[in-house]
C-alpha cells in the first residue's frame, strides 16, 4: 500500500529499517511549522520523505470563538504552504478537537447545526482555495463523537467536500475513529471512494495496528478495491516496548493485506 521509497534514507534510520517509506510531520501553532522550513528542506535533501503534515494545535477552523477560528485558518494556510514548499502532498485537520461532545455534559453545543455548517463551509472553502493555489490538498479528518461534535463520519465530510466542489479538499480517514463511528468501515470506504485522499492507521484502542481488534484485512481490502495508492500514516500511541512497537507496524500491515 505504501509507496516505494523515492530517495535513500540515512542508513541509520530506525524508520527506514523497519520498512517505513515516509514520515508524517506534526504541525504546531504560532507558525512553528513555518519556522522549521529550513530544517525540513535540509531533511528533504538528506533523503527524508515527508508527504504530509497533521495539525498539532488545540484550536481548529471550526472553533466557536471567531478569533481562534481566524488563527486556526491562518495556521493551516501556512502549513499548506510549507508542505508545498518541501514537495509534500497536503495537510490534515479535523473540524475541531476536544471543544465539544454531544455525548458529554452539557450535551447541547452553543451553536446550531446550521451555524456549524456555515462555519465549516466557510473555513473549508478558504483552506481549499489556498491548497489549490499551492498545488496540495487539505485533508479533513472525521473524529469520533467524544472528540468532535460536527464531523464524525465519512459521509458528513464527503457531503461538505462535494458541496464545496474543490478537488483540493479530500477526506483524511482514520481507522480508529471509523471503528467507533461507521457501522461498516469497509462499506464506508467504498461509498466515499471518490473523496478519500489520505489514511491514518491506529487500532481499536488507539495503540499501534495489531495491538487491538480491528478487522485490518477488511479495512485495507476496501482501500485496495478503490485503488487507493496513498500512504498509511501511523497516528497512534504505543504499547509494549516503543521501539519494537514502531518496528512492528509496517510488517503487520503488510501481513494484513496492505
Amino acid at each position: 500500500m505504501s509507496r516505494n521509497l523515492r530517495k535513500p534514507w540515512p542508513p541509520s534510520s530506525i524508520a527506514q529499517r523497519a520498512g517505513y517509506d515516509a514520515i508524517e510531520l506534526r504541525g504546531k501553532g504560532d507558525l512553528h511549522f513555518a519556522a522549521r522550513l529550513d530544517e525540513l528542506k535540509q531533511a528533504g535533501k538528506d533523503g527524508v520523505v515527508m508527504p504530509t503534515v497533521c495539525v498539532d494545535m488545540l484550536h481548529f477552523f471550526g472553533a466557536f470563538d471567531a478569533d481562534l477560528r481566524r488563527d486556526a485558518i491562518d495556521q493551516m494556510k501556512s502549513q499548506l504552504t510549507v508542505i508545498a514548499e518541501i514537495g509534500g502532498l497536503g495537510a490534515q485537520t479535523p473540524a475541531s478537537y476536544g471543544m465539544f461532545s454531544r455525548r458529554l455534559p452539557p450535551f447541547e453545543p452553543p451553536r446550531t447545526e446550521e451555524e456549524d455548517r456555515e462555519v465549516l463551509l466557510a473555513g473549508l472553502s478558504e483552506l481549499g482555495e489556498h491548497a489549490r493555489k499551492e498545488g496540495v490538498t487539505l485533508f479533513l479528518e472525521p473524529l469520533n463523537r467524544y472528540e468532535d461534535h460536527m464531523v464524525n463520519r465519512l459521509e458528513q465530510a464527503a457531503e461538505l467536500i462535494r458541496q464545496i466542489g474543490l478537488d483540493s479538499i479530500r477526506i483524511g480517514i482514520d481507522s480508529y475513529h471509523m471503528n467507533i463511528e461507521e457501522s461498516d468501515p469497509a462499506a464506508a470506504i467504498l461509498a466515499h471512494a471518490d473523496v478519500i485522499g489520505h489514511a491514518q492507521v491506529s487500532d481499536s484502542n488507539r495503540f499501534q495496528p495489531g495491538a487491538g481488534h480491528l478487522d485490518w484485512p477488511a479495512w485495507l481490502g476496501a482501500l485496495h478495491t478503490i485503488g487507493y495508492d496513498g500512504y498509511l500514516a501511523a497516528e497512534c500511541r504505543l504499547t509494549g516496548d516503543p521501539i519494537e512497537a514502531v518496528r512492528s507496524i509496517p510488517a503487520f500491515l503488510q501481513r494484513s493485506g496492505a
Binding site: D184, A186, D215, P217, A218
Partner: protein, 451 residues
Amino acid sequence: MSSLLDWPAPTATAALTLRRGAARVLIDNRAGISTVPSRTLYPHQWSWDSAFIAIGLRHLSVRRAQQELESLLAGQWADGRIPHIVFNPAVPHDAYFPSPDFWQSSRAGRAAGAPTAPETSGIVQPPVHALAAWLVHQADPRESRRRGFLARAYPRLAAWHDYLLTRRDLGGGGLAAVVHPWEPGMDNSPCWDQALQRIEPAAPAAFQRADLNHGHPSDRPTDLDYGRYVRLATDYREADYDDRALRHGFAMEDPCFNALLIVSERALAAMAHNLGLDDTPHIRRADELTQQLVARLWDDDAGLFRVLDLNTHSLVAERSVTGLIPLVVPGLPHGIVQRLQESLGGPHFKAASTGLVPSYDLTGHAFDSQRYWRGPAWFNTAWLIYRGLRTHRLKTDAERLRQGFLAEAERSQFAEYVDPATGAGRGARHFSWTAALALDLLCADLKEPMP
C-alpha cells in the same frame, strides 16, 4: 455506479480490476455479519450461498468469512439441520416469498428444535459448509485458533451431517435424500419435472410470489410449478418438519448434494484431526458414501450420475450438471473420472463459446438457455467442476474452465448465471457467490491441500 469494473483504474491489469470488483461486490452485499446473495433478489442469508461466499471472503477478511458461517450456524436446528434461509428480521415479510410467516419455524419447527430466533425456513441446501469452514480455517490458521473457530464450528457441522445421514436417509441406502426441489439448490431443473407432476399444486390464491418483482418471468419457474413448491413446503410444515412422521411426496437422491456431503465429510475428518479428535469415523463415512454414490446413482451408459427418484425407485432420465459434480469427490474410480471428463467435453455439456458448463443437457428436450436451472450456466457449479478437475489432476481442462469462469464473470458483471452459448448475463448482477468464487480463483494457492 454505471459499471462495476470501470473504476478506479482502467489501466490496472485485468486480474487486478476483476479482484477489486469482486471484493467490492462482497463488501456492498454485506448486511450486518452475513452477506446477502443479491441486494435486489435475495435479501436474507441463504445456506449454500453463504458457504460459497465464505470461500471467497477468506481472501478479503478471514474474520468476515468465519462470521459468515457462524451467522448461518446460529440458525441451526437442534436436530442438526441447517436451514436453507436464515431470515433477516429487519427485512419486511413481503420482500421475499416464502417469508417467515409461511415457514413459521419458531412454532412449527419447535419439536424439531428450530431456534426461537432467528426465523428460518424448514428445508435445507447442499452441505458444502464443512468444506467452506475448512478452507476458511486454512486461509489463516492462527486467526482461526485465536477465535476458536474450528472448535466451535466442528460439532455443529458434524451434527448437520448426522442429520442428513440419519433423518434424511429415506432410501435406506446410506445416501441423503432431498424432499423439495429447492433443497438440491437447482430449483427448476428438469430432473424434478416428473416427480413434481405427482404433486397437487397449491391454489394460486394461497401465495403471492415475490421473485417476479425483480426477476424476469421468462427466467423464473412457472406459476404451476411454484404452486407445487408451495404444496410440498406446506405439507412439510404441517408435519412439524418431522422427517419420520411424513411420507415425503417428493424424495430424491441427488448426485451434487451427496458429492458435496462426501467432500465435506472429508473436511470434517481434517478438522477432527486438527482438533486432536478421532478422524476415522469421518473417513469411513466418506468412503462408504462414495461407494453408495457410485452404486446407486452412476449410469455407465450415459456417462454421468443420475438423480434417483425414491418414490418410483428409478433413475431420472435427464442429463443435468448435478450428474457431473461428483467429479469433485476424491478417490472416484478412474474409469468414472474418465467418463465424466468425456461427458464434459461431449455434445451434451460442451458450451464452446463460453467454456462454462450448462445446467442441463444442451440437446435435451427441456433445454432452455434462459430459464432457471434448465440450461443456463452457473458459476458455483463451474467452480466445483474446476475443483474436481484439479482433484483428478486434469490440469489443462481445469485451467480452461478457470479462464472461462473469470472471463464470463467479468463480462456479465458477476451475474447470477449466464446463457451458456452467448455468455449473456441473466438473473441478478453483482451476485455474491459469483464474485466470491471469482476471488477464490484469482487468489487461492493452487498448492492448497485438498481435504
